[in-house]
Point group: none
Chain length 253, copies 2
DNA sequence: AGAGTTCGTGCATTTTCGTGCAAAGGCAAT
DNA sequence: ATTGCCTTTGCACGAAAATGCACGAACTCT
């Protein structure tokens, strides 16, 4: 078995099954796990896949640091993404924020959906590469590395020249009094700008965001047209928001 | 057994089985492995196959789709990336093209290097996330999915407002007469625009690009200030380029 | 917190590579 | 025929690559 060939095979498996398990492959090929691990390590070095404990995952799914991302309400996010995806109509122009939840949303879009997606997030762009019917328009600007999105005057200028039907916003805090908040001023400014240009703003919030407050305000809750939350949200958190007239979409519905 | 005949046989096996193992063939034909290796080396020199440890694989994958493209001559690319990375000075403003080679370059940049990178490629942005000292400025525009880069009027407009010290360009073809070529008209236009804004343009080309010609012209070779190629490039391909006054940087140097 | 995996690295062994060299054969001019 | 030149082939040898094993560290799960 030629080394190069084997690496190609690994990528092949990855493409077909969405993951590679070092142990399985080593048994199937009759080679030591060390060899497979080494291959995976090298492929990861070239950015062709993402190394994880026990094997490897596609590189495109590399977002945020692993320890954080792994345990935080993953099912929640997948649910939210699925519901949000269902809100999009054929032919609409959609603004997608950066963040793990919105990337899930992008990935959850029907492959056949004909729509236009505007985004300032490279991750969203990558997630939509295999949605042939979706046109993607990327907003440029200075990259804010902590969240991997474009920010700054250039981004806001570009945003101000576009109008969208829907904006799916991600935030780090949503609070009855303090409204929507996020951890960076520049990001907040961009979100605000997008909000202005979108006919409708939908906030995606996994459970831990409810009732939380971060440093920088984005917009007040009056600007929000809808809020998609996970299915297991306690009413004591949702109630105050509902009272403010926000349309709350529960994923259990 | 005639030499030519044997080479044809090797290509035949490659076509049928998708690979050639030097040892197997040498035993089957009753010849030394050296002879087979020599044949393979020569065929590789003609671009008819790709030499790998233990044998050879098809070369035609250079034109495949994105996932496939990524496997082609990866060592070559890593070498090129390393050398190119060494050409960057502290504090410079660099334009990085999209493409696998330039992504390797991004990854190969010293973590401590203080510089500004301009790019229209989401992949480059992602690759630079863990380079804290590198400022990244993303060029927006319509996403051309085949290569995952921003193109179109918006991109070109944004590019025209920036000037850079260095531009590392990737192409699919570089030919003494036809100059630099690539497979998409929009991409060609973007590359041309960047070239205009950069003080110096360096082309990165793995072996299979030399002498190749694609559909759309980018710029003539006069615009090129440097060319970085892999270490094992035959002189018959490099000579004509050198004659045009292009500064060729061999990775073996 | 502890048991069981998995990881990465260093090291030794085996395989493969590339080059230099010489033997063997073909071919043309002398 | 002989000489000189070129090609082909195999062999030798140092270099590079690939693989497996061992061991201590890191990770996962309960």
């Amino acid at each position: 078995m030629l080394t190069t060939e084997r690496k190609a095979l690994l990528l092949d498996i990855l493409g077909k099954e969405g993951r590679v398990v070092a142990k399985e492959v080593s048994q199937k090929l009759g080679l030591s796990e060390d060899t497979i691990r080494r291959d995976l390590r090298e492929l990861a070095g070239e950015g062709l896949l993402q190394r994880v404990h026990g094997g490897a995952l596609p590189a495109s799914k590399a977002l945020g640091d692993l320890p954080t991302r792994r345990n935080v309400s993953t099912d929640d996010k997948a649910e939210i993404a699925k519901v949000a995806a269902g809100m999009i109509r054929e032919g609409q122009i959609i603004f997608l924020d950066g963040g793990t939840t919105t990337v899930s949303l992008a990935r959850a879009l029907p492959k056949a959906l004909r729509a236009t997606v505007l985004t300032h997030s490279p991750d969203i762009v990558t997630a939509l590469l295999d949605h042939p019917a979706v046109d993607v328009e990327l907003i440029g600007g200075r990259i804010f590395k902590h969240s991997n999105v474009a920010v700054g005057a250039v981004a806001i200028e570009a945003i101000s020249q576009i109008r969208a039907d829907l904006y799916f916003m991600g935030v780090t805090g949503i609070h009855p009094e303090h409204g929507l908040t996020t951890g960076d001023r520049e990001e907040a400014a961009v979100k605000r700008a997008i909000c202005r240009q979108a006919a409708e703003t939908i906030v995606l919030a996994s459970r831990e965001k409810l009732g939380a407050v971060s440093a920088y305000g984005v917009v007040s809750l009056h600007e929000v047209d809808g809020l998609v939350v996970g299915s297991k949200c306690p009413e004591n958190l949702l109630g105050p928001l509902r009272d403010l007239g926000i349309h709350i979409i529960d994923t259990s519905a």
